[in-house]
């Protein structure tokens, strides 16, 4: 009996600025995960069934204006759910998901971003 695994069982938050990830720690930094005050969702992409080349192509295809994607922070859905957030896989393109349910307070948003940093696994291309 096989269990179907969804693309969204493994999630990528792409980064294209070296300032938002830490090579030393192997994590994303808080800045790369803390939304604008007026922003409601954090964009992530389902990558479980993609090859590393496909992930690279996907990351580059998202860059507007075109620029080089450096890598991504890898998450599983529970990382977000355990912070009280939700994942909406019905928005945007096929592999896109929005992490929503963020508290409005900036202090709370920083705390969640800080916690997610530690859970992220940095993958550089």
């Amino acid at each position: 009996m096989s269990t179907h695994q969804s693309d969204f069982d493994l999630l990528a938050r792409f980064v294209n600025q070296s300032t938002n990830y830490s090579k030393n720690s192997g994590h994303l930094k808080s800045g790369g995960l803390k939304l604008r005050t007026d922003e409601l969702g954090l964009s992530v992409y389902g990558i479980l069934n993609l090859t590393s080349d496909d992930v690279y192509s996907l990351g580059n295809s998202l860059q507007t204006p075109p620029r080089r994607v450096h890598g991504y922070g890898e998450f599983i859905p529970d990382h977000f759910v355990n912070e009280g957030l939700n994942l909406d896989t019905t928005t945007g393109s096929r592999l896109h998901a929005d992490v929503f349910g963020w508290p409005s307070g900036e202090e709370d948003r920083l705390e969640i971003a800080n916690s997610l940093c530690l859970k992220s696994k940095l993958v550089l291309f």
Binding site: Q17, S18, T19, S22, N24, S30, E106, C117
Partner: protein
């Protein structure tokens, strides 16, 4: 040299800032704050510290909307100025912080250890937000941005070592 009273740290600073860098700033600064900022930018360009270099790079690279492809706001210059001051006030006996920018263009200082991450957000206003995740233990709060290093913050940062 800049001498900071809190740390007695000597920080050499670079005076030769490129014309293009100033042009970029001119676009961003339109009022009387410019004079204040020009004075501050000289001290932002301090050398000899990875964090200072990161701050300089962020000012240069993140000064336009959508600098990260996620519709983030450009670097908030008031936050950057305060970040430079905060950096100069850091105790000498702690490890160097890593810097990043949030979606609002505000500077965040961060320290990582195995199961711990401390993030300190420098807001444009005179306020600092902090979050300390240490395994299952969490602490967060906000404090006033002071010239002198806040005791609460100092205790938090010293505990990183």
């Amino acid at each position: 040299m800049i001498y900071t009273a809190a740390t007695q740290r000597q920080i050499p600073f670079e005076k030769n800032i490129s014309a293009s860098f100033y042009l970029k700033l001119d676009e961003l600064l339109k009022d009387e704050k410019k004079i204040f900022y020009e004075a501050s930018i000289a001290s932002i360009s301090v050398l000899g510290s990875q964090a200072c270099e990161e701050l300089k790079e962020m000012i240069a690279d993140c000064s336009v909307f959508n600098w990260d492809g996620n519709n983030s706001n450009p670097i908030n210059l008031a936050s950057a100025i305060r970040a430079e001051k905060f950096l100069a006030l850091l105790p000498l006996n702690i490890s160097e912080p890593e810097l990043s920018l949030d979606g609002d263009g505000q500077v965040i200082f961060q320290w990582f250890s195995k199961n711990r991450s401390v993030s300190i957000l420098i807001k444009a206003e005179d306020e600092i937000l902090f979050s300390d995740i240490d395994g299952i233990n969490r602490a967060k709060g906000s404090i006033q941005f002071d010239t002198w290093f806040n005791e609460k913050l100092s205790t938090l940062i010293q505990s990183l070592e």
